[in-house]
Amino acid sequence: MTEFLFFLLSAAALLSAVFVVVSRNPVSSVMFLIVTLFSLAGLFVMLEAHFLAAVQVIVYAGAIMVLFLFVVMLLNLGHAELPDFRGAMARLLAGAFGIALAAFTAWTLLTGSDPLTASGGEAADPIQAALKARGAIGALAVPLFRTYLVPFEVTSLLLLVAIVGSMVLARKEAP
């Protein structure tokens, strides 16, 4: 059962990702990406990252994609008349690179060392202990506020800069 679900979600993610790239309409692309994000959230849950799955749905699919939709509508791109795929040469190159990249990474993954044995065997399940002790959120929060405090604070600074920057950039020029 687990496996079936896993494969289903994986397939959904991949399929909708392809449609993101291939769709003519930018709105369709955004929608398909949302589907991809949801599938990924499901995969996160299956990989014991419950909190992240929730964050994915709320922040990524909920906020970021909405932002994208807003912009698409703002720019009135829903009615794309001209195809915005690049020329034949670019298609060829892009396809070639995509395939090359995929093949390369796949090859590395499949011929490299077994990730499970490299990490210490099936018995090792480092997250379980933390999850049992603190629950889903706590397991994430404690390292976040202890070991990774500085990056956390810096990220907040980053968000501030992003807010200010986007407001400045998107502002209409003064008359």
Binding site: A90, L93, F97, L101, F104
Partner: protein, 661 residues
């Protein structure tokens, strides 16, 4: 024991004069008073020092050379050349001639160049010339002599093109320098060979060792001497490098007298005399020298018979007389060659100075009469000038008789010696050529005198005639001095065979210098004959030549004097043989076709094909190649975001690839 007295002063005085006058040409250009005194005094004082040395040398009886080392010039590896002066009997004779005649000509120049804006510059160049000529004759090594050789060439160029605003004159200067260069190449090659064989370039080391290093008839001796003779052909205007000398008449007449008659052109004869032992070791070269000399003597004499420009007649006459000198040194009569060099310096300088007086007078007359454009040199514009210029007339007759070889003038003794020696030393053909040339000489000189000074009608022009005048004092005195020398100058060498007191002054003086050469020639050539090729002794032929010369003079004189000549402007063009001779056998045109034009085509080809096409082209093509490569690279910088993304991905793949593999 003779030790040179103040040797450096002999050279330093003219050099100082040159520097002072040179500075004067800039700083006090209009003031000619300094140059008027400094110019002649510098050379005159040098003459005095030389004379003192001469008497000292004579009294001491030294026969060997005295070398004075001033400083070291080149000390590189095995080559050591010093600035060394050689005071020996031969260089003493040359120094006396150079400084003596130069002093007279400097004094003459004060009168001739009066009023010329380049007065100071003229004396600077003239003094500089004397300096270099003295370097040439007192050098104790080949390189130093070459310095003098080049230096006199330079001064010749500067003085020929003295009135440089005239393009024809400056072209004449260039022609002289360029033709001389060909000869200089010969000098250089000869020096290389000498250094290769002897390991040294000093006379004191090369000449005494010549018999040791070289066999008689050795190919290297022949090569050395032939290349040296090439240098002589250029500097002393022998066939085929004589073409610059007639053009050199563009310079002021005193320059023609000094440089192109008495001194510079005789440098070649001096060179052969100095290296006499080398020439004695190369009979082939000797024959070449003698043949070229005799040939030139005849060839130039023929051209002189049809020239109308008085200076051109004298120029070709100089070439012809130089031919005599080379004939002499070629057959091995070195003393005879130097003897004729000396007497020629006297009478030829006199002839040129006299011609200068005539030209000066005619020009002045025309200027006063307001006439412009007309050639004062052309003898068809002269005529009967003895009425106005008696001193010039008499002194020039003295020179004419001397050059024609009429007894008892100087030329008789020296020219006869040359002709006689070429007869008895085994060159019958050249002897005959020399005789014919001598009679031609008498002929053209008589023609010159008749056209210019006689004829009963003056062709200068009604209006100008009244302004003709005799030579001023500064010009007349040197004329008289040289006139006397043209008479008595030959009396220092009177051969035994003549029924006169035997005087052996010059030969006795120079014998020690030429002894090694005579020794070699005697060892290999056999004794000299006692009779001329057609039989008869020296006295016989002396009589024949003087009588015939006198007869030719009288005959031509009468023929010319009776004819009526028109002025240069109205005269008809010559025709036939006269035209060919007048046009100098078209040699200049021949050179132009055969040598100058092909060379210019070659140079143009080098310019267009090699320089523009190859060299410039290669550089240009490299540049356009670089630009093309740059263009390719610039296509990467399209500025387009999409292209950059693509490249970005390519880079990522490459990096991943290198990391993995």
């Amino acid at each position: 024991m003779y030790r040179p007295i103040l040797p450096a002063l002999v050279l330093a005085l003219p050099l100082a004069g040159a520097i002072i006058n040179g500075v004067g040409a800039f700083l006090w250009r209009e003031d000619h008073r300094v140059a008027r005194w400094v110019g002649p005094l510098a050379v005159g004082a040098s003459f005095v020092v030389v004379a003192i040395n001469f008497f000292a040398m004579k009294d001491s009886g030294t026969t060997a050379a005295s070398v004075v080392s001033l400083w070291t010039w080149i000390a590189a590896g095995g080559l050591h050349v010093g600035v060394d002066l050689q005071f020996d009997r031969l260089s003493m004779v040359m120094m006396l001639i150079v400084t003596g005649v130069s002093t007279l000509i400097h004094i003459y120049s004060i009168g001739y160049m009066r009023g010329d804006p380049g007065f100071n510059r003229y004396f600077a160049y003239l003094n500089l010339f004397v300096f270099f000529m003295l370097v040439l004759v007192t050098a104790a090594s080949f390189p130093l002599m070459f310095v003098g050789w080049e230096g006199v060439g330079l001064c010749s160029y500067l003085l020929i093109g003295f009135w440089y605003e005239n393009e024809a004159y400056s072209n004449a200067g260039k022609k002289a320098f360029i033709v001389n260069r060909i000869g200089d190449f010969g000098f250089l090659v000869a020096m290389f060979i000498i250094y290769g064989i002897f390991g040294s370039l000093d006379f004191s080391q090369v000449l005494p060792a010549a018999t040791g290093h070289l066999q008689y008839g050795d190919v290297w001796a022949t090569l050395i001497t032939l290349f040296l003779f090439l240098a002589c052909m250029g500097k002393s205007a022998q066939i085929p490098l004589y073409v610059w000398l007639p053009d050199a008449m563009a310079g002021p007449t005193p320059v023609s007298a000094l440089i192109h008659a008495a001194t510079m052109v005789t440098a070649g004869v001096y060179l052969v005399a100095r290296t006499s032992v080398l020439f004695a070791l190369a009979p082939v070269s000797q024959a070449v020298v003698a043949t070229v000399g005799a040939g030139t003597a005849l060839f130039a004499a023929t051209i002189a018979t049809q020239q109308w420009d008085i200076k051109k007649v004298l120029a070709y006459s100089t070439i012809s007389q130089l031919g005599y000198m080379f004939l002499a040194v070629g057959v091995g009569a070195f003393t005879a060659g130097i003897f004729h060099l000396m007497t020629h310096a006297f009478f030829k300088a006199l002839l040129f100075l006299g011609a200068g007086a005539v030209i000066h007078s005619v020009e002045h007359a025309w200027h006063e009469a307001g006439r412009h454009g007309g050639d004062p040199n052309d003898m068809r514009n002269h005529g009967d000038l003895r009425r106005w210029m008696p001193v010039t007339w008499i002194t020039m007759w003295s020179a004419t008789l001397a050059i024609s070889g009429v007894f008892p003038f100087a030329g008789f003794f020296s020219k006869d010696e040359v002709i006689w020696k070429s007869g008895v030393l085994g060159y019958p053909l050249l002897w005959g050529v020399a005789l014919v040339a001598a009679f031609l000489t008498a002929g053209y000189m008589a023609r010159l005198m008749a056209l210019t000074f006689h004829g009963g009608e003056n062709r200068t022009g009604e209006d100008a005639r009244g302004h003709l005048h005799g030579a001023p004092l500064a010009m007349a005195v040197p004329l008289v001095v040289l006139g006397v020398l043209s008479l008595v100058g030959g009396w220092i060498q009177i051969p035994e065979s003549l029924p006169l007191p035997h005087v052996n002054a010059l030969e006795g003086w120079l014998d020690p210098v030429f002894e090694p050469a005579h020794h070699v020639m005697a060892a290999h050539g056999g004794a000299a004959a006692t009779a001329a090729p057609l039989g008869g002794g020296e006295l016989t032929w002396g009589l024949i030549s003087t009588v015939v010369a006198l007869a030719v003079v009288v005959w031509i004189f009468l023929a010319v004097v009776r004819r009526h000549y028109r002025t240069a402007a109205e005269a008809p063009e010559p025709t036939g043989l006269s035209l060919v001779l007048y046009r100098k056998w078209y040699v200049d045109e021949l050179y132009d076709r055969l040598i100058v034009r092909p060379l210019m085509a070659l140079w143009r080809g080098c310019w267009k094909i090699v320089d523009d096409g190859l060299i410039d082209g290669t550089v240009n093509r490299l540049a356009s190649g670089a630009r093309a490569v740059g263009w390719v690279g610039s296509q990467l910088q399209s500025g387009r975001l999409g292209a950059y993304l693509l490249l970005f991905m390519v880079g990522v793949l490459v990096i991943l690839g290198t990391v993995a593999f």
